[in-house]
């Protein structure tokens, strides 16, 4: 089975809240000192899902596409080090300032450019903007069936069987190929590349593609083509003042908390 995974390089979502800073005027998140960007964790899980499909089917390829500035290359390299075959970097000044729609449009053109594979996999959402729409938009643009927020993906003859996380449990869904899948955190940990694989991936060519390579006019992509406009970006503030319940023993602390809750009429 041939699989394409779309990945994104983002500021490390494990950045401690204290190190997270926003430039409100520029509406941008400032890079945290000493904390390197990473592949979006859901996307690493998507690569893992793709590699398992390839292994189970016994043949085929796992190719990686990422749209973004120079740093997107690192997400591609990470995926290659995990075991993916080829990487494609959609890189063009025209892509800057885009939204989910323009990103999905460019990705769908790149997928058609490379040939629509049996399975297209995305993370359930990029852990920066947390929208979770790009996979579904690509599915719609390519007129493919889709299943989102998955915890398990299995090859079932020529079709795909997945387990979708829903509010009150899980749904089992059968999909024909080609299809689009998005992977959720319940999928489990992705493999971690070994040093040897990182070295091999470092030597691999990553193919760069521009808007015009994909037949896209600059007015269709980036800020010019965006359908969503951002008006503000800021950090929320908490106005709660915590009261620490003191005591010499756990029993005293427990009694103190119950009293405090009663006095505050919460109990």
């Amino acid at each position: 089975m041939d699989v394409i995974v779309c990945v994104k390089q983002i500021p490390d979502p494990e950045t401690p809240a204290a190190a997270f800073k926003v430039d409100e005027a520029a509406m941008q998140v400032l890079p945290a000192q000493g904390i390197s960007p990473v592949i979006s964790p859901f996307d690493a899980q998507a690569v893992e899902a793709a590699l398992r499909i390839k292994d189970a089917s016994g043949d085929g390829t796992v190719n990686i596409i990422s749209l973004g500035p120079d740093s997107a290359r690192d997400a591609i390299k990470h995926s290659l080090a995990m075991g993916a075959d080829e990487g494609y970097h959609l890189k063009d000044d025209a892509f800057e300032g885009g939204d989910a729609w323009t990103t999905a449009l460019a990705l769908s053109k790149a997928i058609q450019h490379l040939g629509v594979p049996d399975v297209l996999i995305f993370g359930r959402q990029a852990a920066d903007w947390d929208q979770g729409t790009v996979g579904s938009i690509v599915a719609e643009l390519l007129d493919l069936p889709s299943a989102t927020v998955l915890r398990a993906v299995e090859l079932n003859g020529g079709s795909i069987t997945v387990s979708r996380v829903v509010a009150d449990g899980f749904e089992n869904i059968d999909l024909p190929t080609p299809c689009v899948l998005t992977i959720s955190n319940e999928f489990g940990d992705p493999r971690y590349p070994q040093l040897r694989q990182i070295m091999q991936a470092a030597r691999k060519q990553v193919t760069e593609l521009t808007a015009s390579d994909l037949g896209l006019d600059p007015s269709e992509v980036g800020a010019a083509g965006s359908r969503v406009q951002m008006h503000a970006l800021f950090q929320p503030t908490s106005d709660v003042e915590v009261e620490i319940i003191e005591g010499d023993t756990p029993e005293e602390k427990a009694a103190g908390l119950v009293n405090a809750l009663r006095e505050a009429k919460i109990l």
Binding site: G132, D168, P236, V242
Partner: protein
Amino acid sequence: MASILVFGETDDTGLTAPTLEMLGAASRLSGDLGGGVALALLGSGLSGAAAAAGPAGADTVYTADSDALASYQTDSYLPVAQAIVEQDSPSVVLMSQSSMGRDLAPRLATRLGTAAIMDSLGLEVDGDRVKATRSCYGGNARQVVTVQTDPQVITVRPKSQDPLEADSSRSAEVVAVNVAEPTLRARTTGKEQAESEGIRLEDAEIVVSGGRGLGGPEAFADLESLAGVLTAAVGSSRAACDLGWYPPSQQVGLTGTVVSPTLYMAIAISGASQHMAGCGGSKNIVAINKDPDAPIFSFSRFGIVDDYKKVLPALEAAFAKALD
């Protein structure tokens, strides 16, 4: 023609709470946008829920009532949703940030030539646009965004909006929608219900939640015991769910359930932003954590700095005595 079309959801009780909340938001927004509020219901056996639409704030209710729509499937819902939007031509489409909304909103928006904003926390009218405030960067930041194309598709986080007081003197015009036999490509073949003992997370007045700091799955039995005394639901952080300590259906957070109980007890939970995205709306948070610098304390009203293993038995006894 409505200014705002709400895609509602139903359960055994009729319209779901998020549907009532969206109708409340739609009523407030439509005052500024001009035009009415319509509700679209896709499902099977909808007459009871449809009758509740008027009192909850809808002027019109579109019902697509068919066995083929008994449960949400992308391929069966999408063409029906598209037909209703094209019939109603609203300027704004609202959906819940639910299993359905997450999946349907971006595909529907693309099919309609527009875009979707996901998981809004706040909505306000600015000219003919609805400005949505939403959480991003795992809860570390908020952004204010508008959809520049029409219709503006927006999903709404449960419990972020207030429903209207039900007014039984109001009624909505019911418009039945024809449903053609759907062509299913992706096909739902079965469902595994999460064991739902006790109180549903989103309905609970008190939630007792545990995180990675519990150290293992067995500690959840102690949380369940405490929850029994408090008539509370038990939740879990994403870290604890990802480790397989507790079912994903009980996950509180950005990628799980959003809760806003009167009392949220966070036990051995550090308070990562993505967890706070799921419980930050709680009226009171109590944190028990041995790390005095854990971020959870900065969101809490009361805190105990100690090992939960020592505090929990004492706390259960103290609650049992107080509530006796």
